[in-house]
Amino acid sequence: MSLSALLSEYGDLYLRALLNTWRLTALCFAGAFAIGVAITVLRVCPVKPLRVFGDFFVQVFRNIPGAALLILLVYALPRLRVLLSYEMCVIVASVLIPSAFCSEHLMSGMNTISPGEIEAARALGLTFTQLIGRIVIPQALRSTVLPMTSLVVGTMLTTALGSQVPLRPNQLELTGAVNYINSRAVGGILAFAISAALYVATALVIGWVGGRIDRKVRILR
């Protein structure tokens, strides 16, 4: 099929798939970010079992392939009488894996904080919660905007897991849309190229926005 034929026939599908990819990316990154921050707090808290749990969580989800996690969610969870929709399985996998990387970025961001500032906060009588909430996390976040930007892109690519489960046509994301088209017509490489271009364009926008935010919030030292 030519490009014009592909776009005239499947243009709407691509558009919907692009919007679905954006929606999944935003949703999953938000979830990954929230969990990543929470796990990071556990990893530095004074209670050892919580620190161990936090480290364990990160080791598990940083080191499991997305497809393997998806298989576990789709086939193993029902045995535990937890039945998630296919889309929800994709979302859960695309939250958990990036959340582990989010936590790793924050841990490295914490290393940029001057130990003297931590001591000053203690000397002023701040509690652990205040120290974390007002000094540590804000500084760690502001010094990790660029890796977090990459993580948004990484999360977007992880949502391609949606192509591995049977979603309804209106739920398809960019990779799933290609599968859908190629199972019905001979879209060939071109069908992939359209999705790839849309991924790249989105990544460029994400990178540009991330760079702007980084310049704005970066901490002068």
Partner: protein, 251 residues
């Protein structure tokens, strides 16, 4: 009766404090007290344990044995009681340690609002008054990195004062400063001393020590070698080690 007693209780008291870093015995049987309104200056060669001593008072450094009492009450081990106690002891560091992601004003009001639960308006008014007192009110809305070292250190002193501390610890407050900025920080400290603030100061500024100290403590090798009035210490120290130290810095 109780009032007389409380006047007699030292603000800071260390009893037979020992501390090791591995095999290194950094504090050896240190006993020391700082009464209300006293300015005690600790001097000594680097590595003598004077900074470590200063940092044990609010438990930024733990001790192996001995006792530390603040206004007669033993230092809590950790948790909220320790945080509450720290909030009553101001500390000024060699490297200023202003929070780099906040404006000077936000640095000032963080602990008063978060720890003392002052409302923002009251904390802000007081912060501005304190910044004015140390001469950096015009820098309130800047970030620490935009200030000179001397301005940062004066702001850091103001930040500690905003907690209404019972005593102030100074850990080599001028050692990281360019020479032309040392005077402005020492002036602020001199004024504080004149206002009756209880102060424990680790410093290499001998003229300042001589002018402001109520007592001088000379440390070497983790021990207090000599405790003396500033006049006597700088003119005729009792110990040979103090004499050697004073001669070495005069040359």
């Amino acid at each position: 009766m109780t009032q007389i007693q409380s006047r007699d209780v030292p603000v800071i008291e260390l009893r037979h404090v020992d501390k090791h870093y591995g095999d290194l015995h950094v504090l050896k049987d240190i006993s020391l007290s700082v009464g209300k309104g006293e300015v005690v200056v600790i001097i000594g060669p680097s590595g003598s344990g004077k900074s470590t001593l200063c940092r044990t008072v609010n438990r930024l450094e733990t001790i192996d044995s001995g006792e530390i009492l603040i206004e007669g009450v033993p230092l809590p081990q950790d948790g909220r009681q320790l945080a509450a106690l720290r909030s009553r002891i101001g500390m000024v560091f060699q490297s200023f340690n202003l929070f780099s992601h906040m404006t000077v004003l936000d640095n000032m009001i963080l602990a008063p609002t978060g720890v003392l639960k002052l409302n923002r308006k009251a904390a802000k008014d007081e912060a501005m008054a304190l910044l004015d007192r140390v001469g950096v009110a015009d820098q309130a809305h800047k970030l620490p990195a935009q200030l000179s070292g001397g301005q940062q250190q004066r702001a850091a002193i103001a930040r500690a004062l905003a907690m209404h501390p019972r005593a102030m610890l100074f850990d080599e407050p001028t050692s990281a400063l360019d020479p032309e900025m040392i005077g402005e920080v020492l002036n602020v400290m001199t004024e504080l001393a004149a206002d009756g603030m209880t102060m424990l100061i680790v410093t290499h500024e001998m003229n300042f020590a001589r002018r402001v100290a109520s007592r001088v403590i000379f440390m070497d090798g983790g021990s207090i070698v000599e405790e003396n009035t500033p006049e006597a210490f700088f003119t005729q120290p009792r110990s040979q080690r103090a004499l050697d130290f004073l001669q070495s810095i005069r040359n």
